[in-house]
């Protein structure tokens, strides 16, 4: 025993030095990713920001100057402000709906005791993800359109005479977006809920709490980080959605991503598109920060009480 320790003490510095040398060598492996992100992520986004303050394309128009007119144009036009507002509204409602539907399922998945049950639930959640956004939007179009599955069934049952207006509006957009993003919420939440020790809930119950109380007072607060992460993910995805608002929203819905693509494809105004991109980026960053603050406050209170 004593010789063991002595050996370790004398061997330690050499081992540490070798380890440090290896760590330095391993550090070089960061370069491929760093180069990829520099040239295909950071630099392009920087250029996007710069472009939004320029009057034109600096490569083929030498008389380019710095201007705020793209932002002025955005904030002085009700059409654009409405689009911003609609994007946020769709993002928030979709996130809340996905959380409401995703939490029970994530809870069931995290608490599934049989391996088969867990695997089946996992497949049920992954299968829609494999199906793709365009295909799932198609599925909702066949369900919600005037001659779609739901309206045909309702009319056959005599519930309604005229088809209900279920799509080509914000409602249809949100329903389809929720369906598309629930799996992301479930997968994020299931990991976090799974790490909440079930014995804590059992302890609360043995102290007289009902199952619902034990959940509300123990598991729910402890899963707040998962709620935060899942909500941010779904929000970022849904304010960035293009296909679903375009196809499900019809002429009723106009969102920032739709405006951005319009500027690139038909108006050929990459500078204004850049300004729209900067606004979308600012909005998502602001929401991330605000959400973080709110939840930090919430968990602080929980900790005190």
């Amino acid at each position: 025993m004593a010789t063991d320790v002595a050996e370790q003490v004398t061997a330690a510095p050499a081992g540490t030095r070798q380890r440090a040398r290896q760590a330095t060598a391993v550090s070089w492996l960061i370069w491929p990713a760093l180069l990829l992100f520099t040239f295909f992520f950071t630099l392009p986004l920087g250029v996007l920001g710069v472009m939004s303050f320029l009057s034109g394309n600096p490569v083929n128009a030498p008389a380019v100057h710095v201007t705020l007119r793209h932002f002025e144009r955005f904030f002085s036009d009700a059409l654009y402000l409405d689009a911003l507002w609609a994007t946020l509204r769709i993002g928030v409602v979709t996130t809340l709906a996905a959380l409401l539907l995703g939490y029970p399922l994530a809870h069931l998945m995290a608490r599934a005791h049989s391996r088969v049950g867990h695997a089946l639930l996992m497949m049920a959640v992954i299968a829609p993800m494999l199906t793709g956004i365009v295909v799932r939007t198609f599925a909702w179009m066949t369900l919600l359109q005037d001659r779609g599955v739901i309206n045909t069934t309702l009319i056959a049952l005599g519930v309604t005479e005229k088809p209900l207006k279920l799509m080509y509006n914000e409602f249809g957009t949100i329903v389809a977006l929720t369906h598309i993003y629930v799996p992301f919420m479930v997968l994020t939440l299931a990991g976090v809920i799974g790490r909440v020790d079930e014995r804590l809930e059992e302890a609360a119950r043995s102290l007289g709490a009902t199952r619902w109380q034990a959940f509300r007072e123990v598991t729910l607060p402890l899963s707040l980080p998962g709620i935060l992460a899942g909500s941010l993910l779904v929000f970022a995805l849904s304010i960035s959605a293009y296909v679903t608002p375009f196809l499900m929203g019809g002429t009723d819905v106009l969102t920032l991503p739709m405006l951005i693509y319009q500027q690139v494809s038909s108006s050929f105004n990459p500078n204004f598109a850049g300004a729209l991109g900067v606004i979308l980026l600012a909005v998502s960053l602001a929401v991330v920060i605000a959400y973080n603050k709110v939840l930090a406050g919430l968990s602080g209170e929980e900790g005190l009480s």
């Binding site: 990829l36 950071t42 399922l105 005791h113 199906t131 956004i133 066949t142 629930v182 296909v243």
Partner: protein, 266 residues
Amino acid sequence: MRPKLGLGRIAYLSVNGAILFFLLSPIAIVSVFAVNPTPYISFPPVGFTLAWFAKFFANPDFINALWLSLKVAAAVLVLSMLIGATAALALARGNLPGARLATALFMSPLMLPAILTGLALFQIYLLAGIGRPIWGLVMGHTVVAVPYVIRTTLAVLHNFDRRLEEAAAALGANPVRVFLEVTLPLIRPGVIAGGIFAFIVSFDQFPVSLFLVVPKGETLPVVLFNYMKFDLDGAIAAASMVSIALALTVVILLEWIIGLRAYLKL
């Protein structure tokens, strides 16, 4: 402790049943329309036909797009596994001063609206005058796919016992051999899981592709989207079934070829 089947438990299970129904029934519906013979989408189904599949496979636009999507996704799979695994190793095992910052940077495509990545790449390709080449599309997809590989690989690296590597080194293996025979087999499940995600992300990628594809050189999701703007018939349903089947096949193949072997070695 198995929960008793009380009223609360019944409510809990039926809520979850309803959510699962909401998740899965739209996909089941697509398979119904893929074989329903009416010329437009109508319900209930009136028969069985494979004509929509025939229409899909006879349409060169669909087939070319399918090939392009598969090629791009395969390239993204390889690139993101290489770049993601090396980056995760450097982040977990290196002594980089800004490791936390670098991790945040590499994860940011997950939080940033993907349409911005597409727009930004479109603009820089435009300014650089390189047009919209396929490799540009592949790089765009790789940027949004790499975070998945880094995340899954980091998770594995944080969980595994470093003493295994130290033991191998103490027994005389040189660092390269330690890496090849200990580290690599141990992180392989993480890299593969991330790679499968990367493949799916690329195969299903829309917002980045939208800006970076050229006419007649579009990926399958973009072609399907353009078709759906004007036509809503069974061909889309058939295309959906084909792309679901392909994605599933690739996932199962990958798992079977590389995954199972890796798990057996553990």
